[in-house]
Amino acid sequence: MKDKLFKKIITIPVIVYALVLILLPLIYIFILSFLKSDSYGGVINVFNLGNYLKIFDMVYIKVFVQSFLIALVTTLICILIAYPFCLFISQKKKKTQTLLMALVILPFLTNSLIRTYGWIVLLRKEGVINTILLNLNIIDNPLSLMYNNLGIIIGMVYTLLPFMILPLYSSISKIDNRLIEASKDLGAGSMATFFKVIVPSTVTGLFNGSLMVFIPCIGYFFIADLLGGGKLMLLGNLIKNQFLTARNWPFGAAISITLLIITFVLVKLYKKTGGKMDDLGGF
């Protein structure tokens, strides 16, 4: 009994935190999304659905499509890099595994904005990579590595890769080695073992990682601005513009809510594949 009370007491700060800093702002955004902007940064208290209808304008649908494409490509590349990496790590000794995973988390110690600036030094026309390649006579003209969609993808993949590796690693390292042995004993080749045994047992981790990469990717406007030269508008940029330049808070709120609904649908899908909510925030 005492134990239960103690548990309740120590969860109070978390509950208060969630209520005040997450739920209240969300309710505010939700209500805001049905109001009207006075175009001076203020809001008129008139209920209307105009903000949601406005999203279906071709211009804004284009922004949605652009964002989802960038997010999709980023997610796929992250999977392609993270999967072999995690398989490789899981074969190592326990100590090496811990060390390698610590190295994956290490970049988090530096602010992602600063790391993005670091990429500019590497990728630009007279940057480190182009200078080396030019001096080695591998290329004749500098490559366009940034100020285009390639730059955005490089930045996104780099920033979000750990979010793919962590859940995937926890999923892959849980595979029972006996299953693989059994599969081989029963005559399956390494390809068949990989696709029929390993992949199915890591679907949850795969989906979890994809979710953790896909959703932030839509919102990371600073990467699109810095490495893409501000030429591509992502949903994050659009929302930011509504709250700042266009001074249309209700429309910005409506886009945010739409994005939230899409996220909910994806999380529901995740649960359908057998994923646990704990794993999403669980590392």
Binding site: N111, K125, Y147
Partner: protein, 340 residues
């Protein structure tokens, strides 16, 4: 990195000196606008501790002022059209000019402008205008107008500001319209112009367009004059061109926030910056257009010789200013989303 260190020091400053409310001043200013040494000198001379924070657009400033508790900020530096908007929203305190000994140093042509007719709420701090900067090491063509930037030879070779009102306004001007047009047909033409121009645009960057020019990432840039002046310091082969379409002019102003708790300190700070020799230091570090008559006499030959810093009066007089266009801002926002 510098900003982070400054923020950190500010934090220390706030916690360390919280008890002495009387002797502080909360300034909210554009980033890279007043050198740190000026703030330190002011603190030393007056004993007032300045809590200095920054913003990077007028809209960010508006969002900060309208969402913060009254009295959070004392002194701000909004641009022309934002002054007008803030007056309308009753966010500013009328200025008591009797507290400003050095007020007569200001150039008359920057006073009593449309956005604040009698300077009831604001006084000019600096001005800036858009110029075209061209790297003559690589580009030899004759460029006189925004229309020249459409040349297909400049593919992926131009940097523009990441600012919808300025860039769309530039297209409007190139087509012979007002920078602030809200006419749908004219904006449609501007859209075509910008989509055409986009093939030549390497980046939209408001933070530091000069960097792209200096690092040879691009050879042409349309940017605020101070950025161009700094690029010119790095590379003397950059030519500064005043587009024949007149360009954009922006004037930043001192203003005191309604309900400010340290008004007297704010006046002291304004008066300090109005001193000719203080303004000289600011303007030589960040070479914007000087609006102080007395400072004019002190400016170094380096500043005066820099074509992007020392902008001729006729250019300033003919440049257009961004105006409030009410709910028509939606048209600009949509156009901006479309061309990106």
């Amino acid at each position: 990195m510098k900003k982070i260190i400054i923020c950190f020091l500010l934090l220390l400053g706030i916690t360390g000196c919280g008890k002495n409310q009387e002797d502080t001043l909360n300034v909210l200013n554009w980033s890279s606008y007043i050198p740190d040494s000026i703030i330190e000198d002011f603190e030393e001379e007056t004993g007032i501790i300045v809590n200095y924070s920054t913003y990077s657009s007028n809209e960010e400033l508006l969002a900060k002022i309208s969402s913060a508790k009254e009295g959070t900020y004392d002194l701000i530096f909004p641009s022309d059209y934002m002054i007008e908007l803030m007056i309308n929203r009753d966010l500013l305190e009328p200025l008591d000019k009797s507290k400003l000994v050095n007020i007569n140093n200001l150039k008359k042509e920057y006073l009593n402008l449309d956005y604040d007719k009698n300077n009831t709420y604001s006084l000019p701090f600096l001005a800036t205008t858009t110029v075209i900067a061209v790297n003559r090491d690589h580009i030899k063509d004759n460029i006189t107008s925004y229309n020249d930037l459409l040349n297909p030879n400049y593919k992926n070779n131009i940097v523009l500001l990441d600012d919808q009102r300025i860039v769309i306004g530039m297209a409007n001007q190139a087509l012979g319209y007002s920078m602030n047009t809200t006419n749908d047909l004219e904006l449609k033409k501007a859209e075509e112009f910008l989509l055409d121009l986009k093939k030549n645009v390497k980046a939209y960057d408001s933070d530091s367009p000069k960097t792209l020019l200096i690092t040879n990432e691009v050879d042409i840039g349309v940017m605020w004059n101070a950025e161009a002046a700094l690029a010119l310091r790095e590379n003397p082969n950059i030519e500064i061109i005043f587009p024949k379409e007149n360009g954009a002019l922006s004037i930043d102003n001192y203003a005191i926030v309604k309900g400010a708790k340290h008004k007297d300190n704010a006046y002291k700070f304004i008066d300090y910056i109005l001193r000719p020799e203080v303004m000289k230091q600011i303007i030589e570090e960040y070479p914007y257009i000087n609006v102080n008559e007395e400072t004019e006499k002190l400016l170094s030959s380096e500043y005066l010789a820099n074509k992007a810093a020392n902008i001729p009066d006729y250019i300033i007089n003919q440049a257009e200013m961004v105006q409030n266009i009410g709910s028509n801002i939606d048209k600009y926002d949509k156009l901006w989303a479309l061309i990106k």
